[in-house]
Point group: C2
Amino acid sequence: MANEIKATNITWHDHAVTLDEREARNGHKSAVLWFTGLSASGKSTIAQNVQSELFDRGCQAFVLDGDNIRHGLNKDLGFSPEDREENIRRIGEVAKLFADAGMIAMTAFISPYRADRDKARAIAGDRFIEVYVKADVAVCEDRDPKGLYKKARAGAIPEFTGISAPYEEPLNAELVVDTGVESLEECTARVLNCLVERGILRAD
Amino acid sequence: MANEIKATNITWHDHAVTLDEREARNGHKSAVLWFTGLSASGKSTIAQNVQSELFDRGCQAFVLDGDNIRHGLNKDLGFSPEDREENIRRIGEVAKLFADAGMIAMTAFISPYRADRDKARAIAGDRFIEVYVKADVAVCEDRDPKGLYKKARAGAIPEFTGISAPYEEPLNAELVVDTGVESLEECTARVLNCLVERGILRAD
């Protein structure tokens, strides 16, 4: 039967699903939550914790972090300034795509350069929420869960942020949490409150 | 109060949201639906139409196509074989991320090289469903909605697939639709049926 129909005169009509429709369905707005901070500051842990809380509230959320980006999309990139810039550019673009799909996209990368973060902000538009996960280098170095600071101090890792490469603190982050003094639960709660205050989530 | 808590002894525990949990919530499995075919074969239109149908059924789905990839994530890439390969590699990685987020990711790109599509398949694993959107060059050239074939014939577009660059037909696509003989509605229905048959969607 299929073969009897000629397609030359069919109507090719797009009726795309809009972002508004997605957000209405999901019951929350889309956003790009951009976590930035030193290695071992707690970015990924907070992002994962926020994701769990969002999931429990029925939200669509997804974390982009080293585990799913560095070995996949960005496996061709190293840690030179140029490669860090391209790394963050691609992550910014992918985060935007997730937000366009109606999700709360969270990114957990050191993203040490202000200019690169600002580009990611420009890509996402007014849905961009920068969360500075603050912690003194000493605190991060004390944690050092992967032994990276130790290696960096020994000179085994070149261009290590906070030791041998710069970290440019955010000047106007939408939220600053300090994992040197706040618990994971407090940081998580403050991120969720921020989402409510900005109208991304409904208060519950 | 936050300042009274020292973070050195807090427990940093990840409790990640699993793919199983996402799929159970969404009511369908995740997948990468990879549409391949000539320019103007109908890939993007079918993908958009499938997306609309999936949305109406309450599914989480998202289309990656030239509109949201070529001007964003892959704006640094051209149409040389090397750039086409990197283009498809990145799209394969991003589609995998969307599937990891529990979604039915759809990609609508010519993706002319078999080897590149096979790499995308390897990235996505057994969730990969290749849909060959077949249409004779003559049919596509007759449609030519963007005037690209005309330009390519005039030599204004180098390396144009089907005219001056090869298209390698899929040998083992999970689904083949022929837009030269099947209507948009038929193609859409066959894609949805394929998703049901493969256990991605529940029959309804």
